[in-house]
């Protein structure tokens, strides 16, 4: 494993401290206003009419009755909608959208829950009531309702992110031990608490939109393309987001429809996506089928690994779930192939959901590794320790910092893995059979280019701004911590402004890269502002006139010279009658010298009570190596939350579609089962906290996603240990574990 350079100890205690979220009080007291809380004067409300078929076209659409309903102002549909333009959807240009088709482009229906009309009325209730009166007839085609149907109908199309080294097929054929297994994961839906919502208005050709967005800059640029106006004439606001899990990374049809309606009507329009449509028209994690072929030599060393995955995508766009992204580099293996393909089905376009690729991919890989360990008669822990990669063999680069062995060992020890008796079903407690399982977790570390501004102000406060977002994860707080650390100002005198596309360009809040991307830019801007402050202080009438700038040091929100004379920023600025000392900065993405990844391991205890077919996750111990932890509280919260989400992925979550017509059937919050408090296991998270200073000066790699990767596999492996049943299709519901289930009578 690579060694870490010693870190320059220039960070104070506030970096890493578990300070409470600075936006907490506003959220708790209702002062935090979200996209649907905006109430501009003259506001009117939109409500969608959504397709009830999954494939075909609108053959007739009549608004006559709806128009008679009280309060109706306008009804848009494919025959009545302004001409807009598609965004090129380029990540590099910063205008990516996931569903490139615009709302109401034509009469085609690609999925159930697609917008077919938008009613605008004076109140939300009137808009909803009138939406029901829009009469739509369809010419329905046979829908492709799931992955198997898609593959059977038209096969697959190559995806991206493939990798090959050595000759995996030949090595497999001549290997001592092999397994060839297929795993499946269902559609999962993000279901953030806050529903997608947009409030939009136009003033003199300028679009202002409050959107539940994880990427205000990306949304601004996409909307500028869609409305064919310069990006300066679009402002996207997302000061608060009730989480997103990836579903709010890109601009979806409802935001486009809202902005277009506002322009047509010349007044503000608000649209909230109903919960049922949060399952259809704002993305989801696609269904996957993954074939894993693993082989070992006589010593239990992996010699061949193939991970071939197929995921469902829409008929409008190709979304690739890169299930093999982690497989390329987690284990050392000379002969390895990873491939991704997609198949089109009649569902909306999928999108990134927390740890895209890795979450379903590691369910398959880490289940298969467990199966391989069993096949060679090895302890799954020892098997992993024997096979973990020491360098990234896919990139042929050293890891910038990798402590997976320590993470695995520490978690194993805390968990009590050595008390595991290997025999299936051999550990019992009362009526319950205890199962122990483990899995590695892994996530790519990314750092993007970023701009930021920091102002030290005459009133003794600092203002930091960046057009990134805080999606509930703590970005506001860690930015304030960084500014406090560099300026010596207390947190309560630091204002952080995020979520506004007119601020300096910042990253989308996704990929776990917001921290590693934003903090260096903030730090650089703060240093520029401090240099400016020193110039003011050492100028003709300054408090330190005549002193050389480099003799001054920053102390407690002011500057101090070698004699101990200390003057606050406020006084320095006051003396010069300046309002602020400002710093703007740009930082680049990470260089390609190393492979940057985060690592960890989950250990899971499940309990299976065969007498009532009850399965529960009783305990999870996870050790995570994500570089430096910036805020102990919010970091831990991310991992714990991801573990809970992983329990949901393992045991409950699946968006179900009727195989006959492609309609979702459990698209509400009662029937789409996620864990509740009563399902929470005992969770123990160890944060290793080794700064990765090769990655950025803070040594932080980001922590939002890694916690969910591997968790479902650890659960499945524990279930196998308890029951002897290898469940290769998520979720692991009780019916899959029961014996003696009779045959069904009918189809």
């Amino acid at each position: 494993m690579s060694d870490d350079k010693p870190t320059a100890p220039h960070f104070g205690a506030i970096i890493g401290a578990g300070v409470p979220r600075i936006d907490g009080p506003d959220k708790l007291s209702g002062r935090a206003h979200y996209a649907a809380d905006q109430q501009p004067a003259d506001l009117v409300y939109g409500y969608g009419v959504f397709s009830t078929i999954a494939s075909g076209k609108v053959s007739q659409l009549s608004v006559a009755r709806a128009r008679q309903m009280p309060g109706v102002i306008e009804i848009f549909h494919h025959g009545h909608f302004p001409k807009l333009y598609r965004s090129p959807s380029s990540f590099a240009q910063g205008n990516k959208v996931e569903e490139t088709r615009l709302p109401f482009e034509d009469e085609r229906i690609y999925y159930a829950g697609q917008f077919v009309a938008l009613v605008v009325a004076d109140t939300f209730e009137n808009a909803r009531a009138a939406a029901r009166e829009v009469e739509v007839s369809y010419a329905e085609d046979h829908a492709l309702a799931n992955l198997d149907q898609g593959v059977a109908a038209h096969g697959t199309r190559a995806g991206r992110g493939d990798h090959s080294r050595g000759d995996a097929a030949a090595a497999f054929d001549s290997a001592a031990q092999r397994i060839d297994v297929t795993y499946r994961t269902p559609v999962e839906t993000h279901n953030p608490m806050e529903m997608h919502a947009s409030t939009a208005w136009w003033e003199r050709d300028h679009l202002t939109i409050f959107d539940a967005s994880q990427g205000v800059v990306m949304a601004r640029n996409a909307l500028s393309k869609i409305f064919a106006i310069p990006p300066e004439r679009v402002t996207v606001h997302a000061p608060y987001i009730g989480s997103g899990f990836g579903s709010k990374l890109w601009t979806w049809p409802h935001a486009v429809a809202t902005a277009a309606a506002a322009r047509e009507l010349g007044r503000p329009v608000q649209l909230v996506v109903p919960r049922a449509q949060m399952f259809t028209t704002t993305g989801h994690r696609p269904e996957t089928r993954q074939r894993l072929r693993l082989a070992t030599d006589g010593n239990g060393k992996l010699v061949s690994l193939r991970h071939e995955s197929i995921n469902t995508t829409s008929f409008t766009d190709q979304y690739v779930e890169t299930c093999g992204s982690v497989t390329k580099s987690l284990y050392s293996c000379p002969h390895l192939t990873v491939s991704h393909a997609t198949t089109q089905v009649n569902r909306g376009t999928p999108t990134s959901m927390r740890a895209p690729g890795a979450a379903p991919g590691l369910f398959a890989l880490e289940s298969a590794v467990d199966e391989m360990a069993v096949a060679v008669g090895a302890d799954p822990l020892a098997f992993r320790l024997d096979n973990y990669a020491e360098r990234d063999e896919s990139l042929d680069l050293a890891f910038s910092s990798n402590h997976i062995v320590e993470a695995t060992q520490r978690a194993a020890e805390r968990f009590g893995w050595d008390e595991r008796s290997a025999e299936i079903g051999s550990m019992r407690q009362g009526r319950e059979i205890v199962g122990y399982g483990m899995a590695a977790c892994n996530w790519e570390a990314l750092k993007r280019p970023c701009d930021a501004r920091v102002s030290l102000r005459a009133d003794g406060t600092a203002l930091a701004s960046c057009a990134t977002q805080d999606i509930g994860t703590g970005t506001y707080t860690i930015v304030a911590q960084a500014v406090s650390d560099l300026t010596g100002l207390p947190l309560e005198r630091i204002t952080v402004e995020l979520g506004d596309s007119s601020y300096p360009d910042g990253p989308v809040s996704g990929g776990s890269w917001a921290t590693a991307t934003t903090l260096p830019a903030i730090a650089k801007a703060a240093r520029v502002a401090l240099d400016e402050m020193k110039r003011y202080a050492t100028g003709t009438n300054g408090a330190f006139a005549g002193v050389a700038s480099d003799e001054l040091e920053v102390a407690e929100g002011g500057l101090r010279n070698a004699d101990g004379k200390q003057v606050s920023f406020a006084d320095i600025l006051g003396a010069a009658r300046y309002g602020s000392a400002d710093g703007e900065a740009h930082t680049e993405g990470a260089d390609a010298q190393y492979s940057y990844r985060s690592f960890g391991a989950h250990f899971v205890e499940v309990r299976w009570d065969p007498g009532i077919s009850h399965l529960r996750v009783a305990r999870v111990v996870s050790a995570i190596d994500v570089g430096r932890v910036i805020n102990e509280t919010t970091a831990r919260n991310q991992v714990e939350g991801a573990i809970v989400m992983g329990v949901g992925m393992g045991l409950f979550e699946a968006t179900e579609y009727d195989a006959r017509n492609g309609r979702p059937v459990n698209n509400d919050y009662a029937e789409y089962v996620v864990p509740v408090h009563a399902d929470q296991p005992e969770v123990d998270v160890i944060l290793l906290d080794y700064p990765d200073t090769r990655f950025n000066e803070y040594g932080a790699r980001g922590i939002g996603e890694i916690g969910i990767t591997g968790l479902a596999a650890a659960v499945a492996n524990a279930v196998y240990h308890a029951t002897g049943k290898r469940i290769r299709e998520l979720p692991i519901t009780l019916d899959k574990l029961m014996d003696d289930v009779p045959e069904a009578r009918t189809a």
Partner: protein, 328 residues
């Protein structure tokens, strides 16, 4: 949501008068079923009669040992009532196993009796559904039917499970539903209150048009009995039963003198299982006997594409509940 007239009634007679019997009106109790389905456009009353002011919110002990519960007593109040906790533990537990705290605070005894099925094809407003639109077919047969569909009492017209937990406990306890309507008052035996779907799944209960439930009167508790409700589901709270059992047993040493068993989640109505009760009577308490008896409840069960597991799961609900009450 469509516009409707709204009236507030001060007493049962006024409520009944305001409601009328043309089938166009609905009583509004807690609203947790009604308003939900109105917003989904599945229920479309022209008139809503709010009965929150009718003063049917008392729980009274009757001289004959029975307990009379006003239709407007909330699920929370009923579950926490001392007499219920002590004499009808199964009912208190069933109520607390249902829904969420917020819902139970609003939901009422009468409304719970009248709650509609959770079948997604019923709720989506567009699929073929004989209950919502008689004669249109049943999309659940051959569709997704894992969680909220039944294996007992189904028909080729409808397979939706009755969703209530409370009613399962009442089915085991035995009760009378007191109603008042345009034709006066009457009493319906609890067992006859909910109807099997047959080929008229749109008819769910024995109320005549315009009749108001005023009370539910529980049979006197079985002397010296113990009772419990066991609800099995995927997650541990806030989910309807995949299978549940309400069990009341009266023991004579180690022998079952009398048992009452009802099932939830598996039947198209709250499902009393007399064949299980008969098989248990006079038998020694043992897991094997319980398992043999539990089988009898499912002799005529019909499994659909995704819910065959409910047949063994329902038996487990009975066996574990009985075991915990008598052996464990």
């Amino acid at each position: 949501m469509r516009a409707f007239d709204y009236a507030r009634a001060e007493n049962p007679a006024a409520a009944i008068a305001a409601h009328g019997s043309d089938g166009q009106a609905a009583f509004l109790a807690g609203g947790t079923t009604l308003l939900d389905l109105v917003k989904l456009d599945v229920m479309q009353p022209r008139k809503v009669v709010d009965i929150n002011g009718v003063a049917l919110d008392r729980i009274e002990s009757l001289d004959d040992g029975r307990l009379r519960i006003g239709a407007m007593v909330t699920n929370t109040a009923l579950a926490r009532d001392k007499r219920v906790v002590e004499d009808y533990a199964v009912l208190s537990q069933a109520l607390l196993a249902g829904a969420s705290t917020q819902l139970r605070n609003k939901a009422t005894t009468g409304g719970n009796l009248m709650q509609r099925v959770r079948c997604p094809y019923f709720r989506d407003g567009v699929s073929a559904c004989n209950k919502r639109e008689p004669g249109s077919g049943c999309a659940a047969i051959g569709g997704v039917n894992r969680s909220v569909h039944a294996v007992l009492g189904t028909s080729d017209s409808c397979i939706a499970a009755h969703p209530s937990d409370m009613c399962v406990a009442m089915a085991a306890i035995g009760a009378k539903v007191q109603v008042e309507g345009p034709e006066g008052r009457r009493e319906i035996d609890f067992a006859d209150f909910h109807l099997l779907p047959g080929d008229t799944p749109q008819r769910e209960h024995a109320l005549a048009p315009g009749e108001l439930i005023t009370h539910v009167v529980l049979d006197a508790p079985l002397a010296g009995s113990r009772s419990a409700y066991l609800k099995l589901r995927d997650r541990q709270s806030y989910q309807f039963a995949l299978a549940s059992s309400a069990v009341i047993v009266q023991m004579d040493g180690n022998t079952v003198r009398e048992a009452r068993v009802a099932l939830g989640g598996v039947g198209t109505k709250p499902w009393r299982a007399p064949e299980v009760e008969a098989a248990l009577k006079g038998e020694p308490a043992s897991e094997q006997r319980f398992a043999d008896a539990a089988k009898l409840a499912f002799e005529h069960a019909v499994a659909y594409s995704h819910n065959a597991y409910k047949i063994p799961l329902g038996q487990q609900a009975i066996v574990r509940n009985l075991t915990d009450l008598t052996i464990a």
